[in-house]
Subunit: 229 residues, 2 copies
């Protein structure tokens, strides 16, 4: 048996995504999506964040707590490849890996020193759901982490699909400005499962306490209702 | 008490560094340093690496197994700041953090399919010692991980110190070509503890089965002996 090492949950993400549907496929894709990193009681310590505001980006190392499965499969079918081509799990960022560890680069907007549950980090661009456990927070070091010459394998040839978003003003008015801004970006990234093309199908995306109903046809996402959850 | 999550050791790094002294301060700084990622028996599976060779760089998420300490301190003194200024632990990549997790970006040179202990990854630029436990391997995704606009806080203002290396040819001849190439790069990065300036002091750096003796004066590192360990 492989050796086990225990890691403590030091913080949790607080954000508008209560379910996985709509969560951006990688960090940084949806910069309008704001989130809070709230430390667990024993890690609430302003000193531990001293100097962090000099960095524009942070790494979050976290746990895919919603996809925990028994065992692991050596190959997976990444959504970016249409969900029908198998590649080795270590050639993907799939959650279905031997250790369900996530790695995300988020923009640091600031430290909220007055937050009710201790000093919290305000971040943008997270690709995680509300409550996600975080094991480590590290500064993004441009001289070590930014590799402009890197080749991205099968991801290089596949630009992210973007959709036009038709969001009627009367439905926009039901949302706070920040929620609307985030949602517009999330929707433009096409939250549907890869290559699911059914213009009759109704989808519901839950974000920030709202349930946004939409359909997609001919590259345009049409919002047709906004419900309060 | 904070919640604990167990992670399995899926692989171990094999490289020339048997001790921490001389290990590059971040990944990617010493590209001539080659290493092998050797999977633990239950994770030896060529399928799990299918497609990985399309990526030029990988992330390794690993454990600082040599610095395990009880408890953690909210502030640390990074070597890059001369070892005398305290900053918050989450504003550093210091090993002395709540969870001793390391994050390194390495260049993927290839997959060694014929390795005696199962398919292994040949990588360059690792900043880890021999035997380091690895918890996850992910492809570096340029579109998500490369952030050319990132600000590196206190690290931006402090370029890496580089030394001239005076390595007499008769001592170079004692080393295999690849070991010499790696060692020359390692030595140029100044393996001494930060701001330790004593031209009389003898240092010994162990790498690849050799013990390299040197002194440093006026910005030049003078190798004066090479011993076989």
């Amino acid at each position: 048996m492989a050796e086990n090492v225990p890691f403590q949950v030091i913080a949790r993400l607080r954000c508008g995504f209560t379910s996985k549907f709509g969560v951006p496929r990688q960090s940084g894709l949806a910069e309008k999506v704001r989130a809070l990193v709230v430390f667990e009681p024993e890690f609430r310590n302003a000193d531990a964040l001293r100097g962090i505001e000099g960095f524009s980006h942070l790494w979050l190392i976290w746990g895919f707590d919603r996809v925990r499965r028994e065992g692991w499969s050596p190959t997976v079918r990444p959504p970016r490849l249409g969900g029908n081509r198998r590649v080795g799990v270590f050639a993907t960022r799939s959650p279905f890996r031997p250790n369900p560890i996530g790695l995300s680069c988020v923009r640091l907007l600031g430290v909220d020193s007055g937050y009710s549950e201790g000093p919290a980090l305000v971040v943008a661009g997270a690709d995680m759901t509300d409550g996600t456990p975080i094991f480590d927070i590290k500064p993004y070091l441009p001289y070590a982490d930014c590799r402009p010459d890197a080749l991205g394998g099968y991801t290089d040839a596949l630009p992210e699909r973007r959709l036009e978003v038709d969001f009627p003003p009367e439905l926009q008015n039901k949302l706070p400005a920040e929620t609307l801004e985030a949602l517009s970006e999330i929707l433009s990234h096409d939250p549907r499962p890869s290559y699911q093309e059914d213009p009759q199908r109704d989808y519901g995306l839950e974000y920030g306490g709202f349930d946004v109903k939409f359909r997609v046809s001919d590259g345009t996402l049409h919002v047709f209702d906004v419900l309060t959850k």
